[in-house]
């Protein structure tokens, strides 16, 4: 253990023994994981196993009951005021299953809003960057379109650009393809793949097993609020150690 700690750098995201309950239902029962800078990890598992909740906890959207979450130098469980949480969210961006674009703003405005209003950056610089980001996700032509004029996949790619505009250290993706048509999933996944290849730290909750195998350096299988098994995709998908993992994979593959 000690030897390892000296050779590997300090992880960017460190989750230790996190518990979270909603009322009487405990959805996270002691989850721990480390994510290194530039790493892409995938969390898979049946619905209701607490995957999305974990991402929400890391982003400070829901408070945890016990345990610690550290992102860079932020101890997430200790952030109390809005001000402190906002500081965290400048480092950690999240993309949602339902895209959640602001429907009364154009694609470009959606991307520009947070940097202009939260980071208080120069509007012209932000515009240049936002246009570049839209181009990167393949939607330069749709800059002036409103969310309602875009397909689900296009909206999701705008949402990714919107999250990237904050220049985060970590990107959280919460089942971003679950609400999409099969033909539009491809483009969204391509965008994420490109990001991961460029070295962006990504944490993905996903049901796309082939994608997880291809992109992730580590895959976590969660069930019933705990991490049942984790490891490199080749190991987890081809030689799962636990019976529960095997049962789940045989259902979805």
């Amino acid at each position: 253990m000690n030897a390892e700690a000296t050779t590997t750098p300090r992880p960017l995201v460190s989750v230790r023994d996190v518990h979270k309950s909603f009322g009487h239902v405990e959805v996270l029962k002691g989850v721990s994981m480390d994510v290194q800078k530039g790493e892409a990890i995938c969390i898979i598992g049946p619905s209701g196993s607490g995957k999305s909740t974990l991402l929400r906890c890391i982003n400070g959207l829901v408070p945890i009951n016990s345990g610690t979450i550290r992102v860079r130098d932020f101890e997430v469980q200790n952030l109390k005021t809005d001000h402190e949480k906002i500081a965290l969210r400048k480092e950690v961006s999240m993309v949602f299953q339902q895209y959640n674009l602001f429907p009364h703003k154009t694609a470009l405005d959606n991307v520009m809003m947070a940097p202009v209003h939260v980071l208080r950056e120069n509007r012209d610089e932000v515009r240049t960057r936002a246009l570049a980001l839209l181009k990167k996700v393949g939607l330069a032509a749709k800059a002036d379109a409103y969310p309602g004029e875009l397909s689900g996949g296009q909206q999701q790619r705008v949402a990714i650009a919107r999250a990237l505009a904050m220049r985060p250290e970590v990107m959280l993706f919460d089942e971003i393809t679950a609400a999409l048509d099969p033909e539009t999933i491809k483009d969204v996944l391509a965008t994420v793949r490109e990001l991961a290849n460029e070295g962006m730290t990504c944490m993905l909750v996903t049901h796309e097993m082939r994608f997880a195998r291809e992109v992730a350096s580590t895959v976590y299988f969660t069930d019933g609020g705990v991490i049942v098994e984790s490891g490199p995709p080749a190991q987890l998908f081809d030689r799962p150690a636990k019976e529960r993992t095997r049962a789940f994979l045989s259902q979805v593959l």
């Binding site: 961006s93 602001f102 409103y146 904050m166």
Partner: protein, 247 residues
């Protein structure tokens, strides 16, 4: 201008259609003043009722149960009683309590009938506005707010930049209904002798004995007035509608 006024005199002489509001300077002034009064009642009450709506919706979200109760009681009273009763309640009920004795020894009201009309109309429409705005704010999905939060927006900024603009668009159809209704309700100020359009018109027809003419003028003026408001509101509704949705 005089030629036009004169034409109406000729019209009266030749056909018997008597419209003194055009050829008679005194009646014309009365009529125009009445029209102004109706417009003033409408505009001031609209502004005040919208303000009541915004503040009330905000108070309804208060953490103090007492505040919420008061706002609810207010809404229940003004929603479920006829506006005429409300005007009487303010003018005769409260207005008679708020008076001083004038120099002649007679009681002098502190608040004029015009002011009472504005107050009661504003409270009447305001009660509906509270509910309308509240529903609009609640209709903004939690997930959209969450997205704003995860982008680092503060609570105030989320409210100002995301929640309010959306809530306003959602509220607009109901708000329009209510404001159109408010303008129609200004006629009830007649009951407490506020010299608005209906009141001055009835004065004019009793002076000139030209009931049919003035009645038709009255109906036409209100048709144009309310029609213009409806049209303007409709335009506005469509102007701020987000493109790409619906027709």
């Amino acid at each position: 201008m005089d030629a036009i006024w004169h034409w109406f005199r000729v019209l009266y002489d030749t056909t018997g259609i008597n419209l003194p509001i055009f050829y008679d300077a005194f009646d014309r002034r009365r009529f125009v003043n009445g029209l102004w009064m109706t417009l003033a009642l409408s505009v001031i009450s609209i502004i005040a009722s919208v303000a009541i709506g915004v503040v009330g919706a905000w108070l309804q979200g208060s953490r103090l149960r007492m505040t919420r109760r008061v706002v609810n009681g207010y809404i229940q009273f003004f929603r479920n009683t006829p506006p005429l009763v409300q005007i009487y309640f303010f003018y005769f009920g409260i207005g008679s309590l708020l008076s001083t004795t004038g120099p002649t020894g007679h009681p002098v009201p502190l608040v004029s009938n015009v002011a009472w009309a504005i107050i009661s109309l504003s409270f009447f429409a305001g009660a509906f506005n509270v509910e309308i705005f509240r529903a609009g704010v609640e209709a903004v999905p939690k997930t959209t707010i969450e997205a704003a939060e995860s982008l680092g927006f503060s609570r105030l900024r989320t409210y100002l930049l995301i929640v309010l603009p959306l809530a306003f668009r959602i509220s607009l159809p109901a708000l329009n209904n209510n404001l159109v209704n408010l303008v129609k309700t200004t006629t009830l100020a007649y009951a407490i002798a506020v010299p608005e359009l209906l009141y001055v018109t009835s004065q004019i027809w009793s002076d000139n004995l030209n009931v049919p003419e003035m009645m038709n003028v009255l109906l036409l003026v209100y048709f144009v007035l309310v029609g213009a408001l409806v049209l303007a509101m409709d335009r506005w509704e469509r102007a701020i509608r987000v493109p790409g949705f619906g027709a």
